[in-house]
Amino acid sequence: MPHHNTNKNTNMSFSEEVTCRHGGETLTSCYQCGTCASSCPVARLDSRFNPREIIKLALLGEKDELVSGDAIWLCTSCFNCQERCPQNVEIAELFYALRNIAIEAGNSPNIYADFGSALIADGRIVAISKFGEKKREEFGLPPLKPVGLEDLNTILSETGFIKPEKKEASK
């Protein structure tokens, strides 16, 4: 019998790993029509990112390539693709699922760790800039209220965003 698959990374059960995860359920509905790709503003600008290709890789079980690469982090969550997908694949949600798999495997861009630390420390992933406050004033919007850090921390601990040992330490 001919040896069909020489790629050790190819693991067909990866698509199952994705579909049993929240957000990844609709993966196998994809029939590669490419509506997502032509809808995607990022794909036009950055050849590293093509939603159709990412889905194909996930369907073929190319976990390593997806988990260690940049591609899955480039989605801006504009949801154009998801709006237009004829198979109701929840594409943007699918990328969240893939990102969660990557984080569990220890792969995430540094900026996500920075976001996390900022959220725990200041209650916002990005600090409010002077420019932003000025603009709000111009538009007649009230200043942003300070974040209830204590409540937020409760939520972050309960949901496991802050790891248990850290929770213990903070008590």
Binding site: Y31, Q32, G34, R84
Partner: protein, 811 residues
């Protein structure tokens, strides 16, 4: 319940060893000695085969001599032998319903061959059960219902016309109704058909056209002579507004809107249209041009009679047409008319239409005139069309040089129509090729997800398109833009094979729009009482075996009414429907055994369960006194499944051939002899898949213990909770109910009803102190004999573990 005066039963028992196969397992001497002790058995015979040849003659002779008036045959392959024996018995003058054939090979000797003694004891129980049943059986009479040899065909497209011609040729009185003013439907508008590339309005003409008919004849509708067949009545502008009656004699009210032109006077001279001052969009040409208020679609249509568009005409405020008409054919005062038709059968051939493309906002069908559908393109390609065959941009009338097709517009799309419309790839390939052949300079691109060319000659179209230089882009466009500066449309698509984003410039974008059921499909389905599939098309009774039949006897389907079809398939479907109608009506009567449900008025009353449960609409409620009502069974519609019997809370319904008394006698007999070391398990098996799965397990010599006893019932849905309790009382330690798959029940709802009932009965069992695990429902198909053997073993083990059933004192 029925006061059937039956003569004293004299049962003949015929035991076959199937060519000495079975005597290796079963002790035939013991069986005959046992049967001899059973009362009312007047004849016992042993042989090698009783379902044919000499063996069958033995049965016939015994009947003719008056020695017996009931027959029990222990045979193999009962599903065949039953039919043969029934026919022979009937010819010998005995009602075929007084015969019981059991399978002591596949239901006993083979599966229990490892334990011959136990098998013999089970065979005794099986024989006793058959004898007890046959003693209680009553003759079933044959009913005859009149069937009018007339048909109503609804829809005058290619399918409706073809089926009407066939039926008229065969001598039926045929009424063909069409809601539009002219025949032809969608097919007349598409110009040319694949894979023959011939005219769409071409049909197989009637055989009555003796002067020019040849074996290969095909003719335009208008010159086919089909309108002149004496027994074919064509009504345009017409639709069904009321429906009543029964199969064989349906009564329909047809409403015909006025045409305002007398068909037998009009000479189609066009003088009326020439003077008509009204210009209105021509919907036949997809509104790409205007026509007059009095019009004919294209020259080659039927009828060759002008029609007035009610919505556009100014009637007596103008009446110029009336003045010029040389034959006084125009009557502006015509009124809507209604006629009543009585027909034996109905064929629904209402077809399909294009999906409303404006629903897909990103393709801007409503915003940009140069975004059109394939049907609109067909009108542009047609020489009779609004541009005499020139492919132009509707926005400015300029020649279209760059044409982009967008496949699956609304098809294979879960937001609109999840199915593949199946014909659009071929339509686009045909159109693209026709354009390219006449305009080699045109730049034609097809954007596709998958190209599907699955019919004979179809792949050739794909190849021809490539040869002609048509470009293919694998990708579904996300949006169509209008580039005002360039004066072009832009189709935004990724070519997945190149992983490259293309902004395709186009003068004309053609949407390969999905196909959806014709307008009015839902209303017609409700009126006729026939179901639709979840996709909105009419549901055929069985897609594999009965593709032109519906759940409603006497109502048939053909053409695109069941799903989008190309012309060859629609034509095939139409001829097939004609054959089915013929089979149904040809003898002028519908003959049916009265193997139906019977209501006991004494118990029945004021409940509405059975009419709702009957899958065939065979039960109606009839008022009695005051506010009271009782159920009434329509013997013509009743299929004899017994689901109503299983549903009736008052035990007021019985099936004539499976009365509770007959079933109880069988159950008691089956459980009267154990002869094995294991606890008795009773299996109610439906006569369709359940009982045949038992056959197939035996045929494949799969083994299970002999304590499992089988009672055949018409459908799992007939089994009642009290019968289950009675069976436990009679000695069953476990009970199986074996039916068809939940979605594959031969009586549609029987398995589902049975499953619900079993769940409910389990609760009841608990109340009676019986472990609910002693009762289980199984669903299987014929080929799953292994599953039956497994289930039988599993239930045996289960009840063995539970130990002896303890019944409460009063249960």
């Amino acid at each position: 319940m029925s006061e059937c005066k039956m003569e004293q039963p004299k049962v003949g028992v015929f035991i076959s060893d199937c060519g000495k196969q079975l005597s290796e397992v079963l002790d035939f001497d013991a069986l005959t000695s046992f049967v001899r002790t059973v009362p009312d058995v007047t004849l016992i015979a042993r042989g090698s085969a009783f379902w044919r040849g000499k063996g069958l003659e033995t049965i016939i002779d015994a009947i003719k001599s008056g020695k017996i008036n009931r027959v029990v045959v222990a045979e193999s392959i009962t599903k065949i032998s039953d039919v043969n024996i029934a026919q022979a018995v009937e010819n010998a003058g005995l009602n075929s319903y007084l015969v019981e054939v059991i399978d002591i090979k596949d239901h006993c000797a083979w599966p229990h061959r490892a334990t011959p003694k136990e098998a013999t004891e089970k065979a005794k129980a099986m024989l006793l059960s058959a004898i007890e049943r046959v003693k209680l059986l009553e003759p079933i009479e044959k009913l005859e219902f009149p069937a009018l040899k007339s048909v109503l065909v609804i829809g005058g497209g290619i399918a409706g016309m073809q089926t009407a011609v066939d039926l008229a040729d065969l001598g039926f009185e045929v009424n063909l109704i069409e809601k539009e003013s002219f025949l032809g439907g969608l097919s007349a508008r598409v110009g040319r058909f694949f894979p023959t590339d011939d005219c769409a309005i071409c049909i197989q003409p009637p055989s009555s056209d003796v002067k020019t008919i040849t074996h290969t004849s095909r003719k335009c509708v208008y010159r086919s002579g089909f309108s002149e067949i004496p027994n074919l009545n064509i009504l345009t502008n017409s639709r069904v507004v009321a429906f009543d009656g029964v199969p064989g004699n349906f009564e329909l009210t047809i409403e015909t809107k006025p045409r305002y032109v007398e068909a037998d006077q009009c000479v189609a001279c066009d003088k009326c249209a020439a003077v008509c001052p009204v210009e209105t969009p021509d919907e036949y040409n997809a509104n790409l041009n205007n026509r007059k208020a009095i019009y004919m679609n294209v020259p080659a249509v039927h009828p060759q009679v002008y029609a007035i568009d009610e919505d556009a005409c100014k009637f007596h405020d103008c009446a110029k047409c009336v003045e010029v008409c040389p034959t006084n054919a125009i009557d502006l005062d015509q009124k809507t008319e209604q006629v009543t038709l009585n027909v034996g059968s109905i064929v629904v051939a209402t077809g399909f239409r294009e999906f409303d493309s404006s629903t897909i906002k990103e393709y801007h069908y409503d915003d940009y005139p140069d975004v059109i559908t394939n049907l609109e393109l067909a009108r542009l390609i047609d020489g009779f069309g609004p541009t005499a065959g020139n492919i132009v941009r509707p926005s400015d009338g300029k020649s279209a040089k760059k044409i982009v097709f967008v496949q699956c517009a609304g098809s294979r799309d879960k937001r609109y129509n999840p199915y593949c419309s199946s014909i659009c790839c071929m339509i686009s390939l045909k159109h693209a090729s026709l354009i390219k052949e006449t305009n080699p300079d045109a730049e034609v691109t097809i954007c596709y997800i998958d190209i599907r060319t699955t019919g004979r000659e179809h792949e050739y179209y794909y190849e021809r398109a490539r040869d002609l230089g048509i470009k293919f882009v694998k990708g579904r466009p996300t949006e169509i833009y209008n580039d005002e500066e360039k004066g072009k449309l832009i189709v935004d698509v990724e070519d997945a094979l190149l992983k490259r984003f293309l902004d395709l410039e186009a003068d004309l974008v053609v949407l390969a729009t999905s196909m959806v059921p014709a307008e009015g499909t839902t209303e017609l389905a409700q009126l006729l009482g026939i179901p639709l599939e979840s996709d909105g098309f009419f549901k055929e009774y069985n897609a594999k075996l009965r593709p032109t039949e519906t759940k409603q006897k006497g109502i048939f389907l053909c053409g695109g009414a069941t799903f989008p079809k190309d012309a060859p398939t629609a034509s095939l479907h139409a001829h097939s429907a004609a054959m089915k109608v013929t089979k149904f009506l040809n003898s002028g009567k519908i003959v049916k055994d009265l193997r139906t449900a019977e209501i006991n008025d004494e118990y029945c009353g004021d409940c509405e369960l059975c009419p709702v449960t009957c899958p065939y609409g065979a039960i109606l409620l009839e008022p009695t006194t005051g506010d009271h009502f009782v159920a009434r069974v329509n013997d013509l519609l009743c299929e004899g499944c017994g689901i109503c019997v299983g549903t009736c809370p008052l035990n007021a319904i019985e099936l004539r051939n499976s009365r509770p008394s007959q079933m109880t006698a069988q159950i008691n007999a089956l459980l009267s002899v154990n002869g094995t070391s294991k606890p008795l398990v009773l299996a109610f098996c439906c006569q369709e898949c359940g009982h045949t799965a038992v056959d197939s397990s035996g045929m494949a010599k799969m083994e299970y213990p002999a304590n499992v006893r089988i009672i055949k019932v018409p459908c799992a849905g007939i089994v009642r909770a009290n019968q289950i309790l009675e069976a436990f009382k009679a000695g069953a330690q476990g009970i199986m109910v074996v039916g068809c798959k939940l979605d594959g029940c031969h009586y549609e709802l029987g398995s589902q009803q049975a499953e619900k009932k079993i769940d409910f009965t389990k609760v009841l069992l608990k109340e009676y102190g019986i472990e609910p695990e002693r009762l289980e429902m199984f669903s299987m198909v014929y080929i799953e004999g292994d599953q039956f053997a497994e289930a039988a073993k599993m239930m045996t083990d289960r009840v063995t573990e539970l130990g002896q059933l303890k019944l409460m004192e009063d249960s």
